[in-house]
């Protein structure tokens, strides 16, 4: 993949589209600092990823990036509340205080799962699981949300609802949203869509 230049504005909503294997997820991972670029510079919200070591990039991700995955990626042995607060358990750069707990509960209420905080993922529907995953992505109040085909496992009705929800939350939080998707029906929810295969020729 070769990206000569890509500028994404603060709070912009961008969809990455393209055929399977064209590099949509790779591009998202480069922006998140999961993959280091072989050459060149990537800067996100003033953070110069190309100057950061592995540990600094992980701390950057935990505090600045919220991830939403296609497979929800919830831990089955944690209840809903603990799944939402997972970023606070696994990286000491985030401090689990009452404010963090209040934010998690407020998000859960906002997404309609406030009454299911003590349930485990196995007791939730697909739509509910994705809402939990969205809460987790937003729990640390990141400036960038990366959603990797978040509606891939949902029916059409749920897919539209979840997309609207993510877009709405990103807007409320003033966060930039990058969504990898195959669903052309939802592209009108984004300010810009980039065909990664065509643009960057992976």
């Amino acid at each position: 993949m070769r990206v000569d230049a890509l500028d994404i504005a603060d709070a912009e909503r961008v969809a990455f589209v393209g055929t399977s294997g064209c590099g949509k997820t790779t591009l998202a991972h480069l922006i998140a600092g999961i993959l280091p670029a072989a050459a060149g510079e990537i800067e996100v919200g003033g953070h110069k990823l190309y100057e950061m070591g592995d540990r600094a990039r992980r701390n950057f991700r935990i505090s600045q990036v919220g991830f939403i995955f296609q497979e929800f990626a919830l831990l089955d042995y944690l209840n809903v509340e603990e799944n939402v607060l997972l970023p606070y358990f696994i990286n000491s750069s985030l401090s689990l205080d009452q404010a963090a707990r209040d934010t998690a509960r407020r998000l859960a209420d906002l997404l309609g799962i406030g009454d299911k905080l003590k349930r485990h993922p196995g007791q939730l529907s697909g739509g509910e699981k994705q809402r939990v995953a969205i809460c987790r992505a937003l729990a640390a109040q990141p400036s960038l949300i990366i959603a990797d085909e978040p509606t891939g496992n949902l029916d059409r009705g749920n897919a539209l609802a979840v997309t609207d929800l993510i877009c709405s939350l990103a807007e409320q939080h003033g966060a930039t949203l990058l969504m990898v998707t195959h669903e052309h029906a939802i592209l009108d929810r984004f300010e810009r869509s980039i065909d990664v295969g065509e643009e960057f020729g992976a």
């Binding site: 999961i34 540990r55 992980r58 991700r61 935990i62 042995y77 696994i90 990286n91 485990h120």
Partner: protein, 387 residues
């Protein structure tokens, strides 16, 4: 609570069955060698301590282990008896304090130890209630025996009927409990102590009955002759020694023939010890033992057996290790997605590693603690069982 600990505890609690199986495997693997090791050390200490407090032991020639175990711990069958002649002979030699023991009888299934007052001093035993001096017919109970039989000073105790030596007919003897010993944590706690002569009465070698020489008791006489008086079956044999009838008690044997199971000998000096040893080195029917050496020999056999068990435990350990490794490998495979999620979110490598292995570490620590507690429980239970 640390994130790693929280996640680990949640994982263990969520996967209950797997955790219980792993915990059981690890606990058993740790418990078996630990308990055996602790038990052996415990008994080596317990047996050794009592053996060290028994300088020399004289008994009939035969199995030295039987003689020591019976005389020191009141365990196993009573070995063949020697005679009061041997006791008097050693006492007359004057080189050691001698304490006789007559074993093999019981009272309400507690071992009866026929001895002298010196035994209490040798063992450092004191009275928790009542008095210790043993008179003919008195019984002093060990603390555990008193507790189990629910007897106290002032109560009475009946000896069991079984008798190996039955020259003149053995009758259960009713004995007043004149004292209860303070708990010593030794086999003495579980025994009933009587005077040597009382033990001979319990054995049926001595008894007391109506005074046939008294003309008023002629109704009990079948025949009077120059050789003696023959009683008829109606004569009353006493089953309790009282101030009124104590004079009627007598033995149907000369003192030198009366049985003694063993003699504890405490030499007054090293020279006396050597002289006594030399005296018994040529004895034909008796043997002199150093209990400490006999117990050390016994423990040597036990330690040889332990080495065999240690080798077996090593195999169990390897098998359990392989089983645990398999479970962990499968667990790591199952948790691959979890590691990927944590990596994407921003968890550092070391934390991911600890989250994955903390389950095993936690279960191993728990298993070790459980095994340690169980091994101590096993020692307590085994002590009670053996006591």
């Amino acid at each position: 609570m640390s994130g790693i600990i929280r996640l680990t505890l949640r994982y263990i609690a969520f996967n209950k069955l797997k955790s219980i199986i792993l915990l059981a495997c690890l606990t058993i693997t740790i418990f078996l060698p630990l308990a055996l090791h602790h038990l052996i050390l415990h008994y080596e200490d317990e047996l050794g301590q009592r053996a060290r407090l028994t300088p020399l032991l004289v008994g009939a020639k035969g199995d030295r282990f039987d003689l020591v175990l019976a005389s020191l711990y009141f365990k196993g069958r009573a070995p063949e008896a020697i005679t009061a002649h041997d006791l008097d002979d050693l006492r007359a030699y004057g080189r050691a304090e001698v304490i006789p023991l007559l074993l093999g009888h019981s009272a309400r299934e507690k071992p009866v130890v026929g001895t002298t007052i010196d035994y209490f001093r040798l063992r450092g035993l004191g009275a928790a209630s009542g008095t210790l001096p043993l008179k003919l017919g008195d019984a002093v109970l060990g603390a555990a025996a008193a507790e189990e039989l629910q007897l106290a000073t002032g109560d009475s105790l009946l000896s069991d009927e079984a008798s190996l030596i039955n020259l003149a007919g053995a009758y259960p003897l009713k004995m007043p409990v004149v004292g209860v010993l303070a708990r010593a944590g030794t086999p003495d706690d579980h025994a009933v102590f009587v005077d040597l002569k009382t033990a001979w009465v319990i054995a049926g070698i001595g008894h007391g009955h109506t005074d046939l020489a008294d003309p008023e008791q002629s109704g009990y006489v079948s025949e009077r002759s120059e050789e003696g008086i023959t009683a008829n079956p109606a004569v009353v044999t006493y089953n309790e020694i009282t101030a009124e009838n104590i004079g009627s008690f007598h033995f149907h044997s000369t003192r030198s023939e009366l049985p003694v199971t063993s003699i504890i000998a405490a030499p007054r000096s090293e020279k006396d010890r050597t002289l006594i040893s030399g005296r018994y080195s040529v004895a034909e029917t008796t043997q002199l033992l150093v209990p400490e050496d006999v117990i050390a020999e016994l423990m040597g056999i036990v330690f040889q057996l332990k080495r065999f068990f240690d080798a077996s435990f090593l195999l169990v350990l390897v098998t359990t290790g392989l089983f645990v490794a398999l479970v962990i490998l499968l667990s790591l495979r199952i948790r691959k997605a979890e590691r990927s999620t944590m990596f994407h979110i921003g968890c550092d490598r070391l934390t991911i590693f600890w989250i994955q292995v903390a389950e095993l570490v936690t279960l191993t620590v728990l298993a070790a603690a459980l095994a340690w507690a169980l091994s101590h429980l096993a020692i307590a239970m085994a002590s009670r069982l053996l006591a």
